[in-house]
């Protein structure tokens, strides 16, 4: 943790997700400035009050549907003006969607893909441009929340998984662009397993594989400063997914996942 040199200036896209809230709290405790973006403005104000009480230097709320990708560059500029700079971009929004519905109804499929990938491409690329131009004096970081669902297509959620696979490759490429340059920003992609948030309330929970939002927040906070570009969260998913990828197709066919 010695690499932390001062409070960050953070924009959180999808600031009301359980993991985003928990992560924003970690940054606030370090005195960060925060710019929160989500659809529900009233709910954002509640989180803003909490983050100020926890020690955030400033909190600005912006109500926006992030699938609207007009003027992403101007929007980042606005966030940067509000905070006096911008060095951290957290992309947390997304929907789990309904796989069965998506297979029947193109509207649901498009919603999952647009929320999980298409619009994210705009925000990630505009964010990358912004971080390359920012001169805040500390190394920028662009962090996205992808999923282990993108590591191998499975019958239970492959539309969602394909969007997350796209996001993971996007971030892999961005890391490849930046990795050799010590002054370039860092691209960090979290591959999340099961997290106990309101988004997953419909699923049966419990057991050792389910992480708490606060566990993920600790990983986010650390990954913002140092570490690899692809971060399985929690770490054991790296090995679970390695095993799942290595299972031959004829065996995988018999597994109901």
């Amino acid at each position: 943790m010695t690499t932390i040199t001062g409070p960050r200036k953070v924009i959180v896209l999808g600031a009301l997700s359980g993991m985003a809230v928990a992560s924003a709290r970690r940054f606030a405790e370090d005195g960060a400035s925060l710019f929160l973006v989500a659809r529900r403005g009233e709910a954002l104000e509640r989180e803003a009050a909490d983050l100020k009480a926890r020690g955030a230097a400033s909190v600005t709320c912006s109500t926006r549907d992030l699938t609207d990708t007009t003027d992403c560059d101007a929007f980042y500029a606005q966030a940067s003006d509000a905070m006096g700079g911008l060095d951290t971009i957290l992309v947390f929004y997304g929907v789990l969607g309904d796989q069965a519905e998506a297979e029947r109804n193109p509207v649901e499929a498009a919603r999952i893909v647009d929320t999980g990938y298409t619009s994210v491409v705009h925000w990630v690329l505009a964010g990358a441009r912004r971080l390359e131009d920012e001169k805040t004096g500390r190394r920028g970081v662009l962090l996205t929340a992808s999923s282990v669902a993108g590591d191998r297509g499975r019958r239970s959620n492959f539309v969602y998984g394909s969007a997350k696979a796209g996001l993971s490759v996007l971030m892999q490429g961005l890391d490849h662009k930046w990795v050799a340059d010590a002054d370039a920003p860092r691209a960090v992609n979290l591959k999340l397993g099961f997290v106990d948030t309101p988004m997953t309330d419909g699923l049966p929970k419990g057991g050792p594989l389910w992480a708490k939002p606060d566990d993920i927040a600790a990983i986010v906070r650390k990954a913002a400063e140092t570490g690899k570009s692809t971060v399985y969260a929690p770490w054991f998913w790296r090995f679970i997914m390695l095993a799942i990828r290595l299972v031959p197709r004829f065996v995988f066919a018999r597994v109901n996942l």
Partner: protein, 445 residues
């Protein structure tokens, strides 16, 4: 049930004796809490506010009905660093509050023996700490709270504007509505360290000799009693006192508890030999400490919080906790009688705690603490013999005009509760008609 409620078959309280089915909702806002309550009310069912589940018996269960978990109401609302006043949602834990305020030179006005309770739960049970003789119970420091009720309302309640509902809600076991947020006063501290004084207690008389003097001298006092000792050594133990140190830094404890006890200890692991050995070893360890030393508040106030799920020590059948308070004039004889009964039964507990409560009154009409001496014990659940022993202790408490702590209780006789808590009728009058607990059903019917 609506989609917001999920069925759960085996919710248990901290003592793990009872397992019950509930419909559980996890609302994230005050408005959602009010919606949950009115939904339940509309269906003619009952619901109970639920925090971190640290109540031991059945006061946090509502078998067959609904539980409304408060843990997602976990936001701070305002922290006035000049005035030392904090407003927070009711699902925030004392652990989180302490971590927030300590670096700014504040602490909770009083803290129970665990940090893992919610703000709402601390108010609903009007919890107490080692400084009860100075600070009174937790409810004393509540300046205002908001209550969601099944009529869909969310009301700000203050001691001045709504004295009746306020006093029914402090220590009201969550029955008057669900507390959704509260404003509390903090106390300034110069450091996060406690100057601790440790003394050996020869026996019970020795406790009564020094307890009053130590309460005058020190802000925090508590005694640990070896309840396997008998005869001249009955009541032998350790007396611990402490005061906030004037220096030593303002480092809060670290987030997250220590190791988890991953499995239930088998029932046979807890017997009179292991109990004796544990109590002997604990006493030796405490006595090896210097008489006075400077320790961090976390070790001083919350020693058991370092082991998560310590309740599994008592095995799969769970355990009962028994906490009584008896007025000063009757306390010496009654405490002696209780310790004699326990020692003779061979069903001692790992830790028995003895402490004096002071005169600082609670605003709550049904609060547990009163001036006198409180004794807290754990008993592994061995079925009939355990219930019989506690029945014998009941007789001593009843005779001495004392009472038992509902947050710890899963079995006290209804008439003992009602006669020792005359305020229960006030709470019943203010009870939200859609709120009920197993405990309340048991003691009022």
């Amino acid at each position: 049930m609506s989609a917001a409620f999920q069925s759960e078959t085996s919710r248990r309280s901290w003592g793990r004796v009872v397992r019950a089915e509930h419909h559980v909702a996890r609302p994230a806002t005050a408005a959602d809490v009010a919606d949950c309550l009115s939904h339940i009310s509309g269906e003619g069912g009952t619901a109970l506010p639920y925090g971190l589940g640290r109540s031991y018996g059945d006061s946090n269960l509502n078998a067959g009905g609904a539980l409304i978990e408060g843990r997602r109401l976990d936001r701070f609302i305002a922290f006035d660093r000049e005035a030392g006043v904090l407003r927070a949602e009711a699902g925030v834990s004392l652990d989180e509050i302490i971590r927030l305020v300590v670096p700014h030179g504040y602490f909770l006005p009083t803290t129970p023996g665990t940090r893992y309770v919610t703000l709402g739960g601390a108010i609903a049970n009007d919890v107490h700490g080692k400084n009860h003789h100075r600070a009174g119970p937790f409810g004393r420091h509540v300046r205002a709270l908001r209550l969601a009720r099944s009529d869909g309302s969310i009301r700000e309640i203050t001691p001045d504007a709504d004295p009746d509902l306020f006093s029914a809600t402090i220590g009201g076991l969550g029955l008057t509505g669900m507390i959704v947020d509260a404003e509390i006063s903090l106390v300034p501290i110069a450091s996060a360290m406690i100057d601790q004084r440790t003394e050996a207690l020869r026996n019970l008389d020795h406790f009564f000799e020094i307890a009053e003097a130590r309460a005058d001298q020190h802000e925090h006092t508590v005694a640990w009693i070896d309840c396997t000792a008998s005869g001249d050594r009955l009541g032998q133990g350790i007396f611990s006192s402490g005061d906030w140190a004037m220096s030593g830094g303002l480092d809060a404890h670290r987030a997250g508890a220590g190791p988890v006890l991953p499995v239930d200890l088998p029932g046979f692991a807890l017997n009179s030999v292991t109990l004796r050995s544990f109590n002997w070893a604990y006493r030796q360890r405490q006595l090896m400490k210097p008489g006075r030393e400077r320790v961090h508040y976390a070790g001083f106030f919350h020693p058991l919080d370092t082991i998560r799920s310590w309740n599994r020590l008592y095995g799969a059948r769970g355990f009962y906790q028994y906490q009584s308070v008896i007025t000063f004039d009757a306390a010496r004889d009654a405490t002696r009688s209780m310790l004699e009964r326990i020692s003779a039964s061979g069903q001692g507990s790992f830790l028995a705690v003895l402490k004096t409560f002071g005169e600082v009154a609670s605003p709550g009409v049904m609060s547990f603490p009163m001036p006198g001496v409180t004794l807290a014990l754990d008993f592994a659940n061995r079925g009939e013999p355990t219930l019989r022993l506690m029945g014998e202790l009941d007789a001593i408490v009843r005779e001495a005009g004392g009472r038992l702590y509902p947050a710890k209780d899963g079995r006290m006789p209804a008439d003992l509760y009602r006669s020792s808590y005359p305020g229960w009728e006030v709470v019943e009058r203010h009870r939200d008609p859609a709120i009920m607990s197993d405990f309340w059903r048991r003691v009022i019917e």
